[in-house]
Symmetry: C2
Subunit: 345 residues, 2 copies
DNA sequence: TTGTATGCGTTATCAG
DNA sequence: CTGATAACGCATACAA
């Protein structure tokens, strides 16, 4: 300890109340050299133990911030997403954060659900904290965002966004195949007057599902109606039912591009018109959110392989050199989950 | 390019492919001093513009990692939570991340849903990245976690955990008041044979709701049964209904300590026994998750003020000195949301 | 206003 | 194994 009463001392360091201890202090307490603290294997058992004990008693934790200054990797991965309180998005966020931890990365989540102005500010965080990569979940697409990240040489991974962006690595689900399959199971169920229930959001994957379903219908010589009652929500699904199901030429089937829409649609059909599913109306959803399996819905839908997507992200992060090159776009199949909202056969 | 064939060159700096630009480079391009780049106000309009333009064209972003090395604050806030894919938890996570961004902090989320072993590892991240604070959401309680953080002088905020921990600042919801109110509305609805549906998780707030409800019943001279069919989930609620509702002395009311349990319970009651809610069975939930408002449930429940909690957290972070002292525990009321799962009057 | 020095806690390298 | 030293990018203080 320095003498505490010497008044003449300049005391150059204000000695702010640092609560974290440095490797230097550990070395001092252990009575070893500074290098011995962070040395990997080249230390004797005894030295190692002294260091460990000192670190333990002082509560030492490596400062990743300082480490990242020199190393190429910060260990931080930014997850940019909107509507993370939504069943599907929260599940994928859950899967990603778990995976990330498993490979010793940490997730920094940027919520773009706020006002659009804050998106820019939020994005800056990604760069400010020198994230190793940025994962953009489907949703409101901050178009300039991806570009800015790429310009800074960041690793960008984009999920379920089929835009023509070059640079980012893309992971998505086979929306086309699923939409086509959705049409066929409805067709085989005998439905000939189908409707598409979607939202006004214009999310790429949603648009694709709509377009492909419509194309499949056209090929079969069928015309389908499209309803857009608002954002991608339960309420919009309910409102769609209210708007679509009265009248004479009531549809006998609905392809809801999202389970949330589907749940709302089913509830609207039942509560407002007493329609029975699947006897009078068949419904197919997308995402396989938890609620799709609840006994009030028993919704036939397509599951998004959250775990596989998260695993893939982890893989990309681990193998990636600095470039975004090499890996092609990855498309996962969306597996059909048969429940009871479509008549069998 | 350096000559690639000169064998004698020491080539001291490997010059790794740095993708991020430093303040030095901005200064060089702008033709100003290094200090001028990060200087706040003491810079001429002209200099400022040159700097801004250079920064823009180079794609410069301040390195928070380096900055945090010298400053007291890293701007990082750790959110530790389990089951973030759950309606209630995901909503609160959503609220917190939004608030945090509004006050220029960034959320690092640690998912403790994985194996218990990873919790320790995850916790270390908090310390490693020198987070300004750690917010522990209700859920699996890593007991030692809080302690370790506090020992490192970290700011710890704990939500809905009424343990006797000293040190952390606590934010919670008035579980007692709500549970008591739940009992009384069921009592006033004429119910005399009540059941509590809870989980085997042992989460502090859930335990409190159960205990208080039971106490209120006892005061009124009533005996209530308690069912625990598993974790805090829809399935457990469903299973509880299956276990509880056959038999002779079937309850006429259930207080489900969570909306997820309540939804499962209602579905079980209807699907397995054709019981009508609220005519034959009244149900009260807790959390006011989105699904509680869906027309298949119309669940009477208590809302957790996610936004207020998030706001409070932001407030604590902004005003807090280094100590955890001063602020008392904050308890928010849980507002009753009347819907249709309890008979009126 | 600008240049320069110093420190933050690491990692990496090298001489003893 | 130890000690010394050079980065890393920024902030801060001080001198020009």
């Amino acid at each position: 300890m320095a003498s505490s009463t010497s008044a003449a001392e300049p005391l150059p360091v204000p000695r702010r109340a640092r609560s974290f201890v440095s490797a230097r202090e550990v070395a001092d307490l252990a009575g070893v050299s500074r290098s011995a603290v962070t040395a990997g294997a080249s230390v004797s058992e005894e030295t190692r133990n002294k260091v460990l004990q000192a670190a333990q008693s002082l509560g030492y934790h490596v400062n990743h911030l300082a480490r990242s200054l020199i190393q190429e990797s910060s260990g931080i991965v930014c997850i940019v997403g909107a509507a993370i309180d939504t069943p599907h998005q929260s599940r994928i966020l859950d899967a990603i954060t778990r995976r990330l931890q498993a490979i010793d990365r940490v997730a920094m989540v940027i919520n773009t659900s706020g006002d659009e102005a804050s998106v820019e500010a939020a994005l800056r965080q990604t760069l400010n904290y020198r994230a190793d990569a940025t994962v953009v979940l489907s949703g409101t697409p901050p178009a300039s965002l991806v570009d800015t990240c790429l310009r800074s040489g960041q690793h960008v991974i984009v999920i379920n966004r089929d835009d023509q962006l070059v640079g980012p690595q893309e992971i998505s689900v086979d929306n086309d195949g699923a939409a086509r399959e959705a049409f066929h199971i409805l067709f085989r169920a005998g439905c000939r007057n189908m409707a598409i229930v979607t939202s006004s959001a214009g999310t790429p994957s949603l648009v694709e599902r709509e377009r492909t379903f419509q194309a499949a219908a056209r090929e079969a010589g069928l015309d389908v109606s499209v309803t857009r009652a608002g954002p991608t929500s339960y309420e919009a699904g309910y409102a769609s039912a209210k708007a679509l199901l009265p009248g004479a030429g009531r549809p006998d089937a609905a392809f809801c591009v999202t389970d949330l829409l589907a749940c709302g649609f089913m509830d609207g059909a039942r509560a407002e018109f007493g329609i029975s599913v699947p006897d009078e109306l068949c419904v197919v959803g997308f995402d396989d959110i938890e609620q799709a399996g609840w006994s009030s819905y028993e919704l036939t839908t397509f599951s998004q392989p959250s775990e596989s997507i998260a695993e893939r992200i982890a893989g990309l992060l681990e193998t990636s050199g600095h470039g975004n090159s090499g890996k092609p776009r990855m498309v996962f199949p969306a597996k059909l989950v048969w429940r009871k909202s479509v008549r069998p056969r």
